[in-house]
Amino acid sequence: MSNAETLLDVSGLTKHFPIKGGFPISRTVGAVRAVDGLDFQVREGESLGLVGESGCGKSTTGRLITRLLEPTGGKVVYRGQDITHAGRKALAPIRSEIQMIFQDPYASLNPRQTVGKIIAGPMEINDINPAGGRENRVRELLEIVGLSPEHFNRFPHEFSGGQRQRIGVARALALEPKLIVADEPVSALDVSIQAQVVNLLQKVQQELGIAFVFIAHDLAVVRHFSQRVAVMYLGKIMEIADRDDLYDNPRHPYTRALLSAVPEATVEDTPRERIRLVGDVPSPINPPSGCRFRTRCWKATEKCASEAPPLVQVEGNKAGHLTACHYPETDDVPSPRLTKSPRAAA
C-alpha cells in the first residue's frame, strides 16, 4: 500500500476496564469498553492523527501503544515484534524507540527535578552515553526545542506552560525515538502557544523523521500536523484516511458532523451547513448494538442496529481510505440536513 515500512501495526486492540461491585464479595459486574477493536498502522516517519470526542478512547489507545496499560485483547506489533503483553524487561530495548508527550505540562514534569535531570533521566535509565556526555546532549536538546541551554539547572516551576511542554518534547527526543505518541500535547496550552508547539513538533517530525501518533480533539491542529487521520468514536475507528481525502471527502456521517463543527475564520455569504449532533456519546459500559454511532446518526436504519459495519474501503474511496458505515456519505448528496433532527434510534 505504501513504500515506507510499517512501524507500528495495531490489530483488534481492545481495552476493557473492569467495574467492580457487589457485596460482600466484590466481583466484576461489567466493563468500560474504552477501546474496542482498533486496527491501524503507522508507517515510518508518518504522522497519524487520532481525533474524536472526549471519552472515545483516544488517550487509552495512546497508553496501550506505549504499554502503560495492558491490552485486554488484540495485538500491538512494533517492527515485527509483538509487544502486546511484553514485560518491562522485554520492552526495554523498545522503550527507547517509542516515547510519549503528555497532555498536562504541569503534571508531566517532576517538580523536584531540574530540567537537566528530567531530560537526562531517560538516558540514565537506558544507560545511553552520547558522545560529549549527557549534559551536552541535554543542552543540545534544549536548543532543538527552542529553549536556552542555560535553563539546564532550573526547576519546572520556573517555566510557563508552553516552555514546559517544550521540555516534555526534549525529554521525548532524548532517546532518539522512532515513534512518539503525543497525547493532546497542545490542548492544555494557550492558543497562541499552541501554534508554536505544533510547529516545533512538525519541525521535529520532518527533520528527524519521527513517526507520530498525534491524539487531539482539535481538527484544525490535526489537519495541520498529520498526514493521515483516524476518527474515533466510542472505542472504534469510524474512518481513517489520508488527510486531504478525509477533510475533503468525508464518507462517514460522524466525520462529516465533526468537520462541520470546525469554526471557520472567513465568513461566507451562504453560511455553511452545520450538523448538530443531538445528545451525548452513549456510555462505553453499554455501547449501542451494531454501529456505535447509530443513536446519533440521521441515517440509521434497522441494519445499523443489528450489524456492525466493518472498516473497509467503501465504493468511491481512494486506496487507504477506510470507512465503517453501511450508508456512506456521497459528495453529490448534501446529506447534512439542519431541518431534520437526527432521529434517536431505539
Binding site: 522503550r95 517532576n110 523536584r112 520556573e158
Partner: protein
C-alpha cells in the same frame, strides 16, 4: 499520638511573590536556580516565630549533645549524692537547706531533696536521654512509615487493603495503655523475670514500642500521597522510558514526599518526648537513677508540696522545648507547603 495531619501537600505549588516576577529567565543567565527547597528556606527565614523556636530547639539539642562537656566544666555529675558527703546541704527533713531548693553559685539549679544530687547536671543528662530516645523513635517511626506507606500506596490492591486494616487497628488502640502493657512484654523477650533490666534495654524497648505504635499515621498519610502521585504524568513519563519500580519510588516519588515526611516528623518528635516522659512518670520507662526528664518530673511530684523548685526546672524546660518544637513544626509546614497557610 496522632498529630494534626498536614494537608495532602500539593507538592510545592509556588505562591511566593518573589517568584511571580521571574519568568524572564534568559535575562539573568547563570544565576542561581530556585530549587523548591531553597524557596522553602527563604520563606522559613522570614517567619520570626519559626526562627526563634528553631533557635530554642537547636539550643536544647546542643546542650543535650554537649552535656558531658558542660558537666565537666561545671565540675559535677548527675549520679553523685553530694549530700552524703556534705550533710549540711540538706536539712533535718532531707530537704535542701538553702533557699530556693538550695540554689547557689555551686549548685546552679539547687539540689535534689533526700538524695542530694545536683539538679543542673541531672537535668542536662535527663534532656540528653529523653531527646536521644525521642530522636531515635522518630527516625525509626519515619523509616517504618515511609517503607510501609509507600509500599502500600505503590503496590495497591491486596497489599494496600491489608496494610490499611492493620493501620486502622493500630490507630484504634488506646496507645498509652498499650505502651504500659507492652513494655513488660518486651522486657520479657530479652531478660528473665528475676534479672535486672539494663538501662540500654529500657531505652531500646521504649524506642520499639513508640515506633511500633507511631508509624501508622505517617504510613496512612504517605499511602494517600503516593496514590495521588503515582497517577501523575511524570511517573508515567518515567515508565515510558523504562524506569524500574525502584527508580520510580526513589527518584520520582520520594523527593515529592519529603514535605509531608518532614512535617510529620517535626510534629512527632515533641509528642514522643512527652510520651517518653509520661511513661517514665508512670514507672514503665526509664527509672531512677538514670537521669531523664520524666524521671525528674516523677521525683519532683513526690516533693512539690515542700520543694517546688525541684519540679520547676524539668517542667519548665520541657514545656519550653515541646512548645518551641511544635511551633517549629508549624513554621516548617508553612515554609514547605505555603498553600496550607491560614
Amino acid at each position: 499520638m496522632t498529630p494534626p495531619t498536614p494537608s495532602a501537600a500539593a507538592p510545592l505549588e509556588v505562591t511566593d511573590e518573589s517568584v511571580v516576577k521571574s519568568p524572564t529567565p534568559t535575562t539573568n543567565q547563570g544565576s542561581e536556580s530556585r530549587s523548591p527547597g531553597r524557596l522553602a528556606w527563604k520563606r522559613f527565614k522570614r517567619d520570626r516565630a519559626g526562627v526563634i523556636s528553631a533557635c530554642i530547639v537547636l539550643f536544647f539539642f546542643v546542650i543535650a549533645l554537649a552535656a558531658p562537656l558542660i558537666a565537666k566544666l561545671y565540675g559535677k555529675d548527675p549520679y553523685t549524692t553530694y549530700a552524703s558527703q556534705r550533710p549540711e546541704l540538706l536539712d533535718a527533713f532531707s530537704y535542701p537547706a538553702g533557699p530556693n531548693g538550695g540554689m547557689s553559685s555551686e549548685f546552679w539549679f539547687g539540689i535534689e531533696p533526700q538524695l542530694g544530687r545536683d539538679v543542673f547536671t541531672f537535668l542536662l543528662y535527663g534532656i540528653r536521654t529523653s531527646l536521644g530516645i525521642a530522636v531515635a523513635a522518630t527516625l525509626l517511626t519515619a523509616l517504618l512509615g515511609i517503607v510501609i506507606g509507600i509500599t502500600a500506596g505503590y503496590l495497591g490492591g491486596k497489599t494496600d487493603y491489608f496494610v490499611g486494616r492493620v493501620i486502622d487497628i493500630l490507630l484504634s488502640f488506646p496507645s498509652t495503655l498499650f505502651f504500659i502493657a507492652f513494655m513488660p512484654v518486651i522486657y520479657g523477650l530479652f531478660v528473665a523475670p528475676d534479672e535486672n533490666i539494663p538501662t540500654w534495654l529500657r531505652a531500646i524497648s521504649l524506642i520499639i514500642v513508640l515506633a511500633g505504635f507511631g508509624w501508622a499515621s505517617l504510613a496512612r498519610l504517605l499511602r494517600g500521597q503516593v496514590l495521588g502521585l503515582r497517577e501523575r504524568e511524570f511517573v508515567e513519563a518515567a515508565k515510558v522510558t523504562g524506569a524500574s519500580p525502584r527508580r520510580i519510588v526513589f527518584k520520582e516519588l520520594l523527593p515529592n514526599l519529603w514535605t509531608p515526611i518532614i512535617i510529620q516528623s517535626t510534629l512527632m518528635l515533641p509528642a514522643f518526648v512527652t510520651a517518653e516522659a509520661g511513661l517514665a512518670f508512670l514507672g514503665v520507662g526509664m527509672i531512677d537513677p538514670t537521669p531523664d526528664w520524666g524521671v525528674m518530673i516523677q521525683r519532683g511530684a513526690q516533693f512539690y508540696t515542700e520543694d517546688i523548685t525541684f519540679m520547676l526546672f524539668p517542667g519548665l524546660s520541657m514545656v519550653l522545648f515541646v512548645l518551641a518544637f511544635n511551633l517549629l513544626g508549624d513554621s516548617v509546614r508553612d515554609a514547605l507547603d505555603p498553600k496550607s497557610k491560614r
